[in-house]
Amino acid sequence: MKLKKKIAVSETGFIFDPTTGDSFSLNPTAAEILNLLKDGKNEKEIKKIIMTSYDVDESTFERSFLDFMAMLRLYNMIEEHEEN
């Protein structure tokens, strides 16, 4: 799954969706994950990078990550047709 191209992401973790005019603020961890998504990384790659950089166990990461992805989907920021 990929982030929609039009989504604007700033370094501070501010997101703007120009198709709806909505904006969001992310905490630093979410901002990092979103930037990895933006770079085209898949779930496995993101998991590896985050778990290497931070002291987090696998189940905690997966639960939080899936919740975050669900929220992105809820706000229509994910390209649905490329889901795999």
């Binding site: 703007f16 120009p18 005019g21």
Partner: protein
């Protein structure tokens, strides 16, 4: 390059609970790269703020309400024109458009340029005829029906389900959750704008708008979509943001192409949660938030003046999304002498 001097008459100088587009239009024209504009304000009431904004409006004339009769209005305009030599006239009130459209030919004969929808275009997009418009042009439109009396309210169900919208023929719209509320709003609106009152199906979703300018031949000269971010209790935008929404623009192009729309217009749409667009209203004039379009890169009032003067205009193809406007009002201090002068002489 040297600018062409022209005189433009503008109405809609009001800024109460229903802000007029006059001042934003003038701001846009002042920023024109090709015109050096002298602005003649046309005022219906003595307390329209634009009257006293001397840095914005060069000269003001009071004009009679259209309800008094088109003849009186045309007569007054002839007088003003004899003094000011108006090049272009831009009406901005829904309530005055019918009059200006009906004697547009006479204005043009006097040498006053206009860029207004045709009477046919004006009439067929009317709130009372929106369902036919939707069918004819293949546009989703909420079900609606005009009513002329309170006795018709009981027969609204099961044709409509609650909540529904109660709309005035020119302005005002309220959401009603039961027949008692419909009656309340009916009386409120009828007192102000008369009948018919339009009952419209309530569509759940996000309210979005497009400002557009048509060349009368089916081409879109400019179009900028926006979402209201702060809405007053009258449904007016007090803040908004431009959107990057190709589907909305495509719908706009489709409507302008099929209707061969001439002049400025505002599409009011509801975007449902499954990304469907319902057209809830077409305002046949430039909306009060036009300056947002200017800020996003499309000076539509300037383009409209060019069209009115018979000039060729290259269509805008881009605008900047993510541009916001936030409306602000300030108290302007006016000396009683100015108010007196306008009240007494009919000009300032």
């Amino acid at each position: 390059m040297k600018k062409t001097k022209i005189t433009v008459a503008v109405s809609g100088l009001n800024n109460t609970d229903n802000p007029g587009p006059g001042i934003p239009v003038i701001r846009a024209l002042r920023e024109s790269e090709v015109f050096d504009v002298r602005i003649i304000g046309l005022a219906y009431e003595n307390l329209e703020p634009g009257i006293y904004m001397h840095n914005v409006v060069d000269k003001v004339y009071q004009v009679p309400y259209p309800s008094i009769g088109s003849d009186k209005l045309l007569q007054r305009l002839s007088y003003i024109h004899s003094i000011e030599k108006i090049d272009v006239l831009i009406p901005n009130f829904d309530a005055e458009l019918y009059s200006f459209i009906s004697f547009e030919n006479k204005l043009n004969e006097m040498g006053i340029g206009t860029w207004l929808p045709t009477m046919e275009q004006f009439e067929e997009r009317h709130k009372t005829k929106l369902p036919e418009f939707g069918k004819k042009y293949g546009v989703h439109v909420p079900h609606s029906r005009p009513i002329n009396s309170i006795s018709e309210i009981d027969s609204l169900t099961p044709e409509f389900s609650y909540p529904l919208l109660v709309k005035g023929k020119f302005y005002d719209a309220y959401v009603a959750f039961n027949p008692e509320q419909v009656a309340l709003y009916f009386n409120k609106i009828a007192t102000k704008w008369g009948v018919p009152i339009i009952i419209q199906q309530f569509i759940r979703g996000t309210e979005v708008n497009v400002i557009a300018l048509g060349d009368g031949k089916g081409n879109t000269i400019g179009a900028v979509p926006m979402r209201k971010q702060y809405i007053t209790d009258k449904g007016k935008a007090w803040g908004g943001i431009t959107l990057d929404d190709q589907d909305m623009l495509d719908l706009c192009h489709k409507i302008l192409k099929k209707t061969k729309w001439r002049g400025g217009m505002e599409l009011e749409l509801i975007k449902t949660f499954d990304n469907k667009y319902y057209l809830i209203e077409i305002n046949p004039r430039i909306p009060a938030w036009v300056y947002l379009a200017v800020g996003a890169g499309q000076n539509l009032p300037e383009a409209m003046v060019k069209l009115a003067l018979g000039r060729k205009v290259k269509p805008f193809t881009t605008y900047e999304s993510g541009k916001m406007f936030i409306r602000y009002s300030w108290d302007m201090i006016v000396d009683l002498k100015e108010f007196e002068q306008l009240s007494t002489n009919g000009e300032l």
